[in-house]
């Protein structure tokens, strides 16, 4: 009997990976089909960014740099959407650009989604969000340094035409967003080390206020910059996106916008929670088997 128990424990230690993959797949899929409600509490880095944007002066714009690629879309796209919703809800101008060409499609998708949400519910011109007046999609250009340094001088030099082919000088919004001086905060949404480049070039040279939205795995990398004040807050991973969505929803409700909008970050929290708990269970089982075998061998 003892030998059988030891064999089970040894087999448990060296279990075929595919069983682990199967269990994890089930644990992630089932909550997506049968979701349960999970609402994380906003943490200080997320609240810091939210409050900063919320209290930005009227003449300052929010700039969003879509610096991620489609493979991290699930984690990062909700951040772009909720940042835009926040800015439009408090009537701040928004400028969107992409450091990577792959971010163009993602930026366009977010713009289409959020503008449709606002314009389909607008009761008058004031409530609408108009391209060229309330927001602008600058698009992409290369190389990266030219964008980061050139935007400090004059944005229209870096992007003489916008994503849609309009001359940026002719758009009314350009009078209000000439360079970094007119930007309250630039939020870089990235899955790489690009936020560090924004600090090295844009902030060091021009003093622009920066923040970032990054994948959860990179969050630990950027805490030093949040602590030193180089980033004003931070959105870390899907949880960061869900926290920001919650804050934006509360702000919109306060402004009378009790709309039922999809919050993809929040929706995915049930799967993420289940996956976390499962991995913890795996670790516990693995350690129990390890210690049990070690003790028996002694």
């Amino acid at each position: 009997m003892n030998r059988t128990k030891e064999n089970i424990l040894i087999r448990l230690q060296h279990i075929d990976r595919r069983w682990i993959y199967l269990i994890l797949w089930l644990v992630v899929m089932i909550p997506l089909l049968f979701p349960f409600k999970i609402q994380p509490r906003p943490t200080p880095p997320v609240t810091q960014l939210f409050n900063y944007i919320d209290t930005m002066p009227e003449d300052k714009a929010l700039a969003i740099s879509v610096d991620f690629t489609p493979d991290t879309r699930a984690e990062l796209q909700p951040m772009v959407v909720s940042l835009m919703r926040h800015a439009f809800a408090i009537k701040r101008r928004v400028g969107i650009l992409a450091i990577s060409v792959y971010g163009l499609g993602l930026g366009e998708e977010a713009i289409q989604q959020v503008t449709e949400e606002f314009n389909s519910r607008a009761r008058n011109h004031e409530d609408s969000v108009i391209y060229g007046e309330d927001y602008i999609f600058w698009g992409w250009t290369t190389p990266v340094l030219t964008v980061m340094l050139g935007m400090g001088e004059r944005i229209t030099n870096v992007f003489p035409v916008d994503y849609y082919g309009n001359k940026t000088e002719t758009l009314p919004i350009t009078k209000h967003i000439k360079n970094y001086d007119d930007i309250g905060v630039l939020v870089t949404i990235a899955a790489s080390a690009i936020p560090r480049s924004w600090i090295n070039y844009a902030q060091t040279q021009f003093g622009v206020h920066l923040s970032c939205g990054i994948t959860a795995v990179s969050a630990a990398d950027f805490y030093p910059y949040v602590n030193s004040g180089q980033f004003i807050g931070m959105l870390a991973g899907m949880k960061g996106a869900a926290e920001y969505e919650q804050l934006v929803r509360q702000r919109m409700e306060k402004n009378g916008m009790t709309w039922l909008l999809r919050n993809r970050g929040t929706e995915a929290m049930s799967s993420q929670t289940s996956a976390h708990l499962t991995i913890m269970a795996f670790i516990i089982i693995g350690n129990i088997a390890y210690f049990a075998v070690r003790r028996k061998r002694k």
Partner: protein
């Protein structure tokens, strides 16, 4: 008339209009500051500019009521200008006294980078001193680095098993110092694989890294006395797409089943995909990166990991060249100096309440 006088006397013009050339820039910018008028009915300020020898005033901008500064970034260098600020209400516009003339000039030194400049000079001097000293004293001590000691053992394992060695020099470009450090290690690894006759596979993710890596491996095979063993297929370009590269390398690992994997350079999210696949094939894995976020994955999935600056010390450690060892010494002493300064300034800030933060 009396009404006009009343209006004029109720809105004060902006005062203390000061202009100066914006410092530390490449020219073309003038900073204008003023003291705001206190009246609440002011809706904003108009900024005007006049060139010397011209009668005309040009409107530059209209700024909000809370503004008290403006940067004219369209000034021509060396051309004198003066400025005037007009406080505007719905019905009136009250001008300030014109400022004096000022010209924008480009600057030769950005004084805000002075601390960095001094730091660069000091650190460079430390390095140069130790590099010179290494030429006299060839027995400089460097502590053991387990990952680098294991290189020979790992390559020997591959030779005994008759299987290949896979070397991934990261996914970054030659602009990344980690890639350069990785290629230095590749040179040493290639010399050993040439000597042992172990097949070497080097997939690359950047075209320039591909060309440099090919030359590095070719030279190493020549230096090891085995130029005939080198063939073009050892080093090849795969793709610059992150996950496509990871998929390709995973495919190589599962098909070729290399006995030894080197994952050295700059990695991002694909690090765990590569390391875990390599672990599943039973290869011995030596990783090295300065991407701090990826270190936990490499430490978990690989047998040996070079952490941060151990990667940069690798070429000196393996080759034992005195000049390179001297540079490592310089690095260590620089770190000691920085640590000492941090402690001193922390004590000064905490104990003596000195505003150390503002000194830099």
């Amino acid at each position: 008339m009396i009404l006009l006088l009343i209006i004029l006397f109720t809105v004060t013009p902006p005062t203390a209009v000061q202009v100066k050339d914006l410092p530390n820039d490449d020219g073309g910018k003038i900073l204008i500051t003023w003291q705001r008028a206190p009246e609440p009915e002011i809706i904003g300020y108009r900024v005007l500019r006049q060139e010397q020898n011209s009668e005309e005033w040009e409107t530059l901008a209209f700024v909000g009521r809370l503004a008290n500064r403006y940067i004219d970034d369209e000034a021509k260098n060396y051309l004198p200008y003066r400025y005037q600020i007009i406080a505007c209400t719905d019905t009136t516009a009250v001008p300030s006294e014109p400022s004096g003339f000022v010209s924008a000039v480009p600057h030769w030194f950005d004084t805000s980078t002075l601390p960095a400049f001094i730091g660069t000079i000091i650190l460079s001097l430390i390095f140069i001193y130790f590099i010179n000293r290494a030429q006299r004293d060839k027995n400089l001590f460097i502590r053991r680095i387990a990952g680098l000691d294991a290189v020979e053992e790992a390559l020997g394992r591959a030779t005994e098993m008759g299987r290949a060695t896979l070397y991934v020099p990261g996914l970054s470009s030659m602009a990344d110092v980690a890639t350069i450090a990785s290629l230095n290690i590749l040179g040493e690894v290639a010399k050993k694989t040439a000597k042992f006759g172990t097949p070497l596979i080097v997939p690359t993710s950047d075209p320039i890294v591909y060309t440099v890596a090919r030359e590095v491996v070719k030279e190493s095979y020549t230096a090891a006395g085995r130029p005939d063993a080198f063939h073009q297929d050892i080093v090849f370009f795969v793709t610059d797409q992150q996950f496509a590269f990871a998929a390709a390398v995973d495919g190589i690992m599962t098909r070729e089943k290399p006995a030894t994997n080197f994952l050295i350079g700059m990695f991002w999210a694909e690090s765990l995909i590569l390391a875990e696949t390599g672990a599943a094939t039973g290869a011995i894995q030596i990783a090295g990166t300065d991407a701090i976020a990826q270190l936990p994955f490499f430490i978990t999935a690989c047998d040996y990991t070079l952490i941060g600056e151990e990667l940069y010390a690798a070429s000196a450690y393996i080759s034992r060249e005195p000049l390179l060892l001297g540079a490592i010494k310089g690095q260590d002493y620089s770190k000691a100096l920085i640590t000492f300064l941090i402690i001193i300034f922390t004590v000064m800030a905490l104990v003596f309440n000195l505003p150390v933060k503002n000194w830099f």
